[in-house]
Assembly symmetry: D2
Homo-oligomer: 385 residues x 4
Amino acid sequence: MTDYRPVPEDKFSFGLWTVGWRGVNTFGDAVRPPLDGAEAVRRLADLGAYGITFHDDDLIPPGSDAAARAAVLKRFRAALDETGLVVPMVTTNLFTHPVFRDGGFTSNSRDVRRYALRKVLRNIELAVEMGARTFVCWGGQDGAETEAGKDDRAALDRLREAFDLLCAHVRDRGYDLRFAIEPKPNEPRGDVLLPTVGHALAFISELEHPEMVGVNPEVGHEQMAGLNFAHGVAQALWHGKLFHIDLNGQRGVKYDQDLRFGAGDVKEAFFLVDLLESAGYEGPRHFDFKPPRTEDMAGVWESAAGCMRNYLVLREKAAAFRADPEVAAALEAARVGELARPTLDPGETTADLLAEELDLAAVAERGYAFERLDQLAVDHLLGVR
Amino acid sequence: MTDYRPVPEDKFSFGLWTVGWRGVNTFGDAVRPPLDGAEAVRRLADLGAYGITFHDDDLIPPGSDAAARAAVLKRFRAALDETGLVVPMVTTNLFTHPVFRDGGFTSNSRDVRRYALRKVLRNIELAVEMGARTFVCWGGQDGAETEAGKDDRAALDRLREAFDLLCAHVRDRGYDLRFAIEPKPNEPRGDVLLPTVGHALAFISELEHPEMVGVNPEVGHEQMAGLNFAHGVAQALWHGKLFHIDLNGQRGVKYDQDLRFGAGDVKEAFFLVDLLESAGYEGPRHFDFKPPRTEDMAGVWESAAGCMRNYLVLREKAAAFRADPEVAAALEAARVGELARPTLDPGETTADLLAEELDLAAVAERGYAFERLDQLAVDHLLGVR
Amino acid sequence: MTDYRPVPEDKFSFGLWTVGWRGVNTFGDAVRPPLDGAEAVRRLADLGAYGITFHDDDLIPPGSDAAARAAVLKRFRAALDETGLVVPMVTTNLFTHPVFRDGGFTSNSRDVRRYALRKVLRNIELAVEMGARTFVCWGGQDGAETEAGKDDRAALDRLREAFDLLCAHVRDRGYDLRFAIEPKPNEPRGDVLLPTVGHALAFISELEHPEMVGVNPEVGHEQMAGLNFAHGVAQALWHGKLFHIDLNGQRGVKYDQDLRFGAGDVKEAFFLVDLLESAGYEGPRHFDFKPPRTEDMAGVWESAAGCMRNYLVLREKAAAFRADPEVAAALEAARVGELARPTLDPGETTADLLAEELDLAAVAERGYAFERLDQLAVDHLLGVR
Amino acid sequence: MTDYRPVPEDKFSFGLWTVGWRGVNTFGDAVRPPLDGAEAVRRLADLGAYGITFHDDDLIPPGSDAAARAAVLKRFRAALDETGLVVPMVTTNLFTHPVFRDGGFTSNSRDVRRYALRKVLRNIELAVEMGARTFVCWGGQDGAETEAGKDDRAALDRLREAFDLLCAHVRDRGYDLRFAIEPKPNEPRGDVLLPTVGHALAFISELEHPEMVGVNPEVGHEQMAGLNFAHGVAQALWHGKLFHIDLNGQRGVKYDQDLRFGAGDVKEAFFLVDLLESAGYEGPRHFDFKPPRTEDMAGVWESAAGCMRNYLVLREKAAAFRADPEVAAALEAARVGELARPTLDPGETTADLLAEELDLAAVAERGYAFERLDQLAVDHLLGVR
């Protein structure tokens, strides 16, 4: 048993807006003081993180003049240099300001769409300046409460226009930057455009430069739709599109909880870590959570530390699970590996297939021994093997 | 006000398994007698339907020998000829038999996968013989209760292998047949592969012949994930992939209810019909519902008639909604049409965009008047305009 | 067809916090200006409402001194007198201020619990002064994100202590005031105490003065748990506990949407109105909704007007449904009235019952014709009968 | 670390219908052979269980004559005697047969209601004969798909009539038997009467002999409504009504999964076991699960063994959690114990309360340190402390 202390090589990153969340929601006022960006850098570095990410407005208060902006950036950069923390990803806030009440890239208002693009274009400069290689786009206000109010096909046209423009811009500038779309089914809008990982992956396939755009799945966002997160991430990996990931916790189909990683569906978290590690995902393990309003700043840092600790614990367990000879035997009994073998042999034809018969009665009795396999996973998860 | 009597030109079709459902579920035995296929054809024709669809095993009892099979088909064909009903779609049962307990195309058992392909290949012949142009594939048992038991990426490989093989086969034979994948999030498996319209659309983009494969969205299946059905269908249309559609009713996130069309979320049904009609969808309006177990056969036919009646009623209302000058004014006020205008003018560059400023304070006050618009939709829905 | 203009006799009331909601939520800043209480009174009166309700802090800005408080109340009272609007219900804000981050009556902090009680006691004086007869208690922050942090049984003890104290206080003062508990399953807390109408009804049965406490069910709150609102209200009526009701709209299991009444599940709204009207509910029809953030103030008033209009439309439809002879026949065919007849005749014993036999085979074939009945309801809802 | 071998003192019981489930559901045929009751007794005894329970029809095939019935019971009794297994609970099947398609105690058909009562009365004799002390009633077909088809208040009247009759009967006979109502929100009916633990508890308070009736909460049934199971059980305990419990697993708001205990939300399972053990619940730990259709009979017994193993593992962890000094300190820091202290001191009055002031600014800063506490729980759950 290790002490599960994170180190930069673990690639843990945090949104500045996570530890900096002040607790405002529909039913409650702020419960915590503002958190300075440079202070966040230092605290996260102390905890063992390797990266910090931000929305433009998290770091630079909206309305700052050039001097104020420069001062903020200087302080932030100094903290990065001092701690060695990196900025692997940057994102843009296209939701908080009232102008975005009907969305950003797909607002019915053309002037707002233009402003949204402009805000992203400007923020790309900052992202590049900060050394970010991934640019996340979450269009949480791009949706509708009434179907009558949004022409979805036009919205998808505008979204494609936006990404085609941004990709062209990045290519023109020669920047080494990829985009990652973050899906969400609802909240704050009644229904959000590109509600799941699947919808986002499908959308990407229609772009001019699909190779520049991937997804940034978030644990809770898929679980809000009752979807299995590990399965969704597996499909994203299959498409070669897992460009970034948002780790947090959610307890079922309800409002967006943004609990710390490991605090929601812990079994799903185990299988997720197992997947990320075994698939060789090399990007940041990015935490996008909200320390509950019940916490003061000490609780915020406990919560942040817990995210990383839980990942490390689960990573160790997943490795032990995969190394366990009884698990190997159970996987064999469950025929898991057999699925990797093509259904037809090389050269086989449908005629060959049609010439064959299956002994239905015999195969009907075949069990798959998944319960044994799942219990071994639970045993590893609970640490009783 | 018309009497809403369906005619074949309305393109209403029904699965044989819908009116023929006997009511067996996890908690209850059969409540209704078997329904003969030819009888179903006659009753549906009497009600005004234009088509009937089936799984192989619905029509031809599994285990039938060649003579029995021929007799069934002869009777069925005679009923079709007599009534003029067509068979626009055929599908294959890859779920009821115990051999499919871990799925069909993605069963961990290779011999089962081969059998599933064989069953589909044979059924394609019947589909073509019947004149079907669409072949629906629902892989409801292709999923998992434990993530450990299913290698998702291998499953997607096998699924791609299956569709590539089937498409090649259909091309080789020169058949005029397209495939439509039906997504579902869960039930009967804990989590099902390709859980939503989005996931299926993304998958299709990776096929050798993506143009031959589309989706068959089902109202209840998307709503079981809390997703907005009209938005999902709109995205399918945007991708040019709405090859077929399953209409029914569902009341929220719960087990698969398969209520008659119009009996679930009636407002969503209104917007769906509005979308299908305004988008010029020309395929069948296919009902995939299950008359509740409380009904006897008289109730079954009431339920089937209700599906069609509700579609016709909603079609009339949607047309009236679109023709209403106050609605036109409300759409204008809500800037709905403005979304169809590209965000950039032809020839505009990002430099042009960056040179512009938005009056944030002024635009922050802009309202979108969606409540007015939605209330007009409700008024039309309720028939009070 | 009437013009559905509300009049005070319809007993429509609105929370000041509804039309006054400025649009702040987790992801967005305020989009609308503050709304003055007296202005709200006048606008609601113009629209045909009969009542207005408020949380203490909605009306009187927290921190107001006695003079400021008096001035606000004077203006508000003048508006009431001028318009004839009444204040049938008052409630207390025990959630917005950071001190309530772990709840009010059941905060782990005893000093907060005492403050919460004090805040309610003071507000009771205002309620009585305003002529309110119902005092609603919503304990939305009384819950937990981690089970470890809340001793539920102690929480229920404290909640009982609170209500016993408040009831005793009201009795001591001789006030004509009843309490109504508003349940909610989650949000803003991960899980909320007394999550449904059922849990609240059960709790009430343990009080010293259960006759003084009832429930205030809210459409969306029950639907957030996937529960049927009409069924829940029916049970509250059965217990004699429907003291008040919050009408709004919700589209399924997700975050608390607070849509205008009729804009969510419209079929459920129809059956709810049918129930309230046929059961002779005489309390206010109180709208607790949030005009979407997309709306400006004009949209807010459209939304408020829509709530009332939809109730009136549905009330008319429900009456027509009940008066329709075909519906009467369908109810008879569905044996709905038969359920009102006791299962045993007066004087019958279990011995009599045991002496009887049922013809299982015959009764197994009996259908209940609910599809016919439901289709008649849909026809009335859609206005096509 | 023990080997977690169950012994009868652990009080683990299983429904005969659980290990005996053959796998029939809406989408699939039987996958497993019938299981003889006596064989089930022996296998469960071998695994370390202490009890077995059954529906009348599980044990005695419907339609058996007296001789066949006697033979079955003799074999079953012999197995019980041989193994020492007991029958702590019996229940009645009021759902499988088509006559129950509209429910049992609340069917619209009076003759069906009478038959349902008769079936229960007869089964009570068997229950008493078997030594059962608890009689569970699950009315899963007592519900509706259309609100028009069910008069809820009449249904509750009939349900009360049924329980009052049954209680009177049991009292007349002098049997030592209590009833436990099992709530469920939906499935197989669209909405079920008494959908949650709360609704059932409220209903019980209206009975003639409420002391004879409690609840039998089932993990998955509450979680199907998105409710927190531990909180629901805590409220049942608070009312003194936890007469029995059904343990299984569910992964969120979807169809009724009936997974093995520990295979669903494992964190919730931990807090549930912690609650049952710390509250001194002395009844059976009853597993009501369905081994997935993927399993053959070997998998069924693995699944059954897993239920008990997971309970024992979690019991050990919960004890360690409660004994951990750091947990004690964290509970103190989170003020959990403070909630057990009455909010008013003995003799204090509302006047005393009103004379006090709270330093709002100071208390607003107070954090509750729940994240620290929850992380300690996760650490114990994962076995890393």
